[in-house]
């Protein structure tokens, strides 16, 4: 036993010397893979920065993660729909309103499809939008602060899945419902679904200067499942396309009953026509309850407003606005190529891709070549709108993205592969396996008029043996392929957080130069901010105690507080007086029933503490801020409820 230990330690020691002193002498024996071109392609040397940002949705984490390409390094998790103790989002008094809904405080959601704002169909990097699927919501994130600035709830929707895709000038962000429901909601037998439920396709307008969202109208469609969507662009700008499934309108055992029809539809919606109709007074106002939550960068505060009404539109009242394009086999992804000419429907139970032609669709509409109607909405003839079929040989096509050279890349879930094919000729050029069961894929700008076709990221649903095992639950795997050549080349594999459904990417230079470094203290309009340490104070208002506190490396002002009593509700309003990049201060106090706060330079955040025990209780900075970080602490003296100790506060006295 003893010998064994000696031996082990010697081995570890030797390994340490080699690893810590490793330099030129070991080069020849370095790992073979590190010398290959794949490694060079993804290697971003220490101190160097990535070429692209990639924003991956977190799925059931409710948040959005930021990665670099090609390194696959994760830079940040942006809290959106979920409470996030790391920063205090959803815990601080300022951010709790962001998670308010008509169902009350909902601290979680299922975040699916991020989409970066566009101008003329090209990424402009102002904002990124993402949908909450479970309690239907759409969020807008500012791409200079990387903070969630706005969340709007979507009434009459249930399962906000065909969302949050934007039109080519960010006129609208759409929110189509995956689950149809009674509109308005009412108590009725489930099996009376057919013909009675509705599917709301919501068009949320985006104010161009600040990005503020407002529901412009809701199109009340037949009770199908509206699965995914994408906007027209170029010639097809003004249209929006939604895939549907469950046109059977089944309400039980859906995996069988929703797969009966050979073809479901892609719904083509001429939103410009409906916008005109609405602007001319069309539509019906309907009572509704939904929350609209806005975060103000000046006051560092979110406010929630309950809205009471929504404008609904019956598609039959706007002739020529909505058509159905028959699309085989329960289509999932609905993707439009950079020219706006082709609409690709990926029939997930099929081996083939169906490509519709926008021009042919317009001709068919003009010629009124209909193949019947569904609830009064004209169905176009499949053959009349079909541009081509991609015979891929793969199974379970889900999503398609595009490069700038006329190629499309489609994921196949069942056969675990990415297939590259050519628009127009529909021939398959290349196919590469993914690991495993790929869902979405993303090319930066790959769903805009101007893709940057250098890399494609495949986001998989199953990880299995790709990484060291971590018990039954593992992060999902993603793969990066170099697509700059004719053939795709797998160059990297990295784990992702939560379950990414879709992602959006853009060149780094679009965002990096304007990324905010600090909030200016003299712009801080928070009502409880202290602009200088002499304003730091403690005030009592009945049982409420407000502590106006400031921080700078490395002390709190004040750091000794007395006169607080058991049963008080203590508000710590912390203003970070730093004005230097990347110097947040944290705040936490023993027994706090929420999370810490992480306060950025120039920002004010508030945490509530309800002391339950008499004593002298410490608080401290949670973010290692300087060499004297460990000294950044203070005490609150908590006296019995009936004590007559006066409020007092001090620093260095």
């Amino acid at each position: 036993m003893k010998k064994y230990h000696y031996y082990m330690m010697a081995l570890i020691g030797v390994a340490m010397i080699i690893s810590s002193c490793g330099n030129g002498s070991n080069k020849s024996s370095s790992n073979g893979a590190l010398g290959s071109s794949a490694a060079e392609k993804v290697y971003v040397a220490p101190g160097q920065q990535d070429e692209f940002y990639a924003f991956l949705s977190g799925g059931y984490s409710g948040n959005l993660t930021v990665y670099g390409l090609p390194s696959g390094r994760m830079f940040k998790e942006i809290p959106v729909f979920s409470q996030f103790p790391t920063s205090g989002y959803g815990y601080s008094e300022e951010t709790k309103p962001m998670l308010n809904t008509s169902f009350g405080f909902v601290p979680w959601d299922d975040a699916h499809h991020p989409d970066i704002s566009q101008t003329n169909g090209e990424l402009d990097g102002r904002w990124i939008f993402i949908n909450g699927n479970n309690t239907p919501r759409v969020a807008r994130i500012n791409l200079s602060t990387f903070e969630t600035e706005e969340i709007i709830e979507v009434p009459n929707s249930a399962g906000n899945h065909s969302s949050s895709f934007i039109t080519e000038n960010t006129e609208y962000v759409v929110a189509g419902t995956r689950f149809s429901v009674p509109v308005p909601q009412k108590d009725m037998p489930i099996n009376e679904y057919k013909g009675n439920f509705k599917g709301a396709l919501t068009f949320i307008s985006v104010e161009q200067e600040h990005g503020n969202m407002d529901i412009k109208f809701q199109l009340l469609m037949p009770g199908f499942n509206y699965d995914l969507s994408h906007p027209g662009r170029g010639d097809s700008h003004g249209w929006f396309f939604f895939t549907t499934y469950n046109t059977e309108e089944a309400n039980s055992l859906m995996e069988v009953n929703s797969s009966q029809n050979d073809k479901d539809f892609i719904a083509a919606v001429n939103w410009k026509k409906i916008e005109e109709y609405v602007n001319n007074g069309g539509g019906t106002k309907m009572p509704a309850d939904y929350a609209h939550n806005v975060y103000d960068e000046g006051t560092h505060m979110g406010t929630s407003t309950m809205k009471k009404e929504v404008l609904t539109v019956d598609p039959l009242k706007v002739p020529g606005a909505v058509f159905f394009l028959p699309t085989p086999k329960s289509p999932h992804g609905c993707d439009v190529d950079p020219t706006g000419q082709y609409i690709i429907g990926n029939g997930k139970l099929s081996a083939d891709l169906t490509v519709h032609s926008f021009d042919k669709m317009i001709v068919a509409i003009e010629d009124e070549k209909f193949d019947g109607e569904a609830y009064g909405i004209p169905i176009l003839k499949f053959e009349d709108v079909l541009a081509g079929t991609v015979k891929s040989g793969g199974l379970g096509p889900l999503h398609t993205e595009f490069d700038e050279k006329g190629n499309a890349y489609t994921t196949f879930f069942i056969s675990s592969e990415v297939v590259k094919w050519k628009l127009g000729t529909w021939e398959v050029i290349d196919r590469k396996p993914t690991f495993y069961s790929v869902g979405h894929l993303m090319i930066p700008g790959g769903n805009s008029r101007k893709p940057f076709g250098k890399y494609v990221v495949a986001m998989n649903k199953i990880t299995k043996d790709r990484y060291l095992p971590t018990g039954p639950e593992m992060e999902h795997s993603a793969q990066i392929y170099d697509i700059s050549g004719e053939k795709m080349e797998l160059i990297y594999d990295f784990p992702t957080h939560g379950e990414p459904h879709y992602a959006a990417g853009c060149p780094a230079e679009l965002l990096a130069p304007k990324s905010k470094k600090i909030y200016r203290l003299d712009d801080n309009k928070h009502p409880y901010a202290v602009s200088n340490p002499s304003e730091a104070r403690v005030e009592r208002n009945g049982k409420e105690v407000h502590i106006y506190m400031s921080t700078i490396r490395s002390h709190f002002t004040p750091d000794n507080i007395e006169g607080v009593k058991v049963g008080d509700k203590v508000y710590f309003h912390i203003t970070n007086h730093e004005q230097d990049f990347d110097v947040p201060h944290g705040f936490s106090i023993i027994g706090q029933n929420t999370s810490e706060l992480l306060v950025m330079p120039g920002q004010t955040k508030t945490s509530i503490w309800e002391p339950k025990k008499v004593g002298v209780w410490p608080f401290y900075c949670t973010d290692f801020c300087s060499a004297l970080h460990q000294e950044m602490q203070g005490y609150v003296r908590v006296s019995p409820a009936n004590s007559d100790i006066e409020l007092s506060w001090s620093l260095g006295e």
């Binding site: 020691g13 810590s20 002193c21 200088n532 002499s534 002390h555 004005q579 230097d580």
Partner: protein
């Protein structure tokens, strides 16, 4: 077994040191002498002064940074002073008091000890100054390692602060 671990730890520590890049001599034993770090500085550089950095007069030293030369008008600009006093309140009082040492040095008489250029450079880029300016380096040590925060002020704002300091 315990002995093994002890030997192993010492060995590992030795290796880590050996690879650390700097060729510092390993000192034996254990010490709580807090002034050791200053002693070390003095070992490598010749002793220039026994006077603590905060009391040294370094009027010839302009510091390191963008301010190379400024000329002060004999007359004090009151408007600038008002501006500077306000900025001092919002951006400096967390660490500096005018009349006594706090986290950092007192501001009274600062211009009797430091050149105007040095003061402005220190405000505009404290990190660079503590890296490259001897006096700033020593001040950091004297003031307990509490690094001065960069408050991202403009040259104009910094100039106002300087004008305010002239009145102290």
């Amino acid at each position: 077994m315990k002995v093994n671990i002890a030997i192993y730890s010492v060995l590992c520590a030795f290796f880590l040191f050996a690879c650390g890049g700097k060729e510092e001599k390993k000192k034996d034993g254990f010490s709580v002498d807090r002034t050791k770090s200053t002693e070390k500085v003095e070992e490598t550089t010749p002793k220039t002064s026994e006077v603590p950095a905060s009391q040294r007069i370094t009027l010839d030293n302009k510091g390191v940074g963008q301010i190379k030369e400024i000329t002060l008008d004999p007359e004090i600009d009151d408007a600038m002073v008002t501006k500077g006093a306000e900025l001092f309140k919002t951006n400096c009082t967390a660490c500096h008091k005018t009349d006594k040492r706090f986290i950092g040095p007192k501001m009274e008489g600062i211009l009797d000890r430091r050149s105007p250029e040095w003061v402005m450079n220190m405000i505009l880029d404290p990190k660079l100054m503590t890296e490259e300016d001897r006096c700033a380096k020593d001040l950091l040590v004297e003031f307990n390692g509490a690094a001065m925060s960069n408050q991202n002020l403009t040259v104009e704002q910094t100039r106002s602060l300087l004008e305010f300091f002239r009145t102290l």
